[in-house]
Symmetry: C2
Subunit: 180 residues, 2 copies
């Protein structure tokens, strides 16, 4: 499937509501369970997505579109949310994510990006040269990866409860070493 | 996390709305893309979940609770949905799944299952002896596995569009051999 801005936005608009359906008001053990040390709970995944709204995707797109002397991105802090959200509730994060995402997508749409703009270059601090199109495609895939991660982390909370069914439930065993 | 019926139902009730938020009205390439031959698209995942409502979880729970001479389950057909849903739309499957799931959970709640009933035995045709508790835990994990699978399959449609970001997006590479 080739990248199309409208098709990308179509998915990006759905993520807050998807996570709300899965998580709003859910019991703490589901919201806070993780896959072990240094892994993300559903609550952490949501904090990480909020960090992306504030520090990653749109700020990097702005940098590319500004066409200044340097198009090198700021490194992204994967653990910014840990201290930021120490006193927050899951439901308040859901609301914040929904608000930030809606504003970011309204901004993205207001740019009316054409093909030549999508080809503009940026520089990732670790990955090197990238394009605006790749940045926006990565935003979509990153969202879906975290939806999948939230579901997987929740599934693993019942890893010991399914008995012999574990053989038929690859979501429990396909990520022995969890990656986010 | 130990199995609790109310905590299980809490998750099972969310799956239809989660899939609706992710998929209702979405463009065909997102709905119908898959991971290669013999793998499930989001549309197929939904068909498979409907098959589960009609032929798997509740019918097997009924068999266990009936305490008859045999508690051996009927084998489950993973491809029943292929012919069943050939002419259906994604949105009609979303509605059907929501209706079937709501009725099945109402029934499950109406049984007011206690601990001793949750320990009752069944016999899986491939896995051998199981309990009703394990069946219900597997239902929850199975749901979450398919939510994760839908998100993963959608992500992979942009596998070639993210450029060098593929290194940082494990959802694209952690399942070289997709399992459902």
């Amino acid at each position: 499937m080739e990248f199309r801005l409208d098709r990308a936005i179509e998915v990006l608009r759905r993520t807050p509501e998807t996570l709300r359906a899965l998580l709003a008001g859910i019991a703490e053990p589901w919201a806070r369970g993780d896959e072990g040390p240094e892994t993300f709970s559903p609550f952490d995944n949501l904090g990480h997505l909020i960090d992306g709204e504030e520090t990653d995707w749109i700020p990097r797109a702005r940098l590319i579109l500004a066409r200044g002397e340097s198009v090198r991105f700021e490194p992204y802090d994967r653990f910014r949310h840990r201290s930021r959200n120490a006193d927050r509730t899951l439901d308040s994060l859901l609301e914040e994510f929904q608000r930030l995402r809606a504003a970011n997508l309204d901004l993205l749409e207001s740019w009316h990006l054409g093909e030549s703009q999508l080809d503009l270059p940026g520089e990732h601090p670790a990955l090197g040269p990238v394009t605006l199109r790749q940045l926006l495609a990565a935003w979509v895939v990153h969202d879906l990866g975290h939806v999948a991660q939230v579901a997987r982390v929740m599934a693993k909370q019942y890893g010991d409860e399914v008995g012999p069914w574990v053989q038929f439930l690859p979501v429990l065993t396909d990520h022995r070493k969890p990656r986010s």
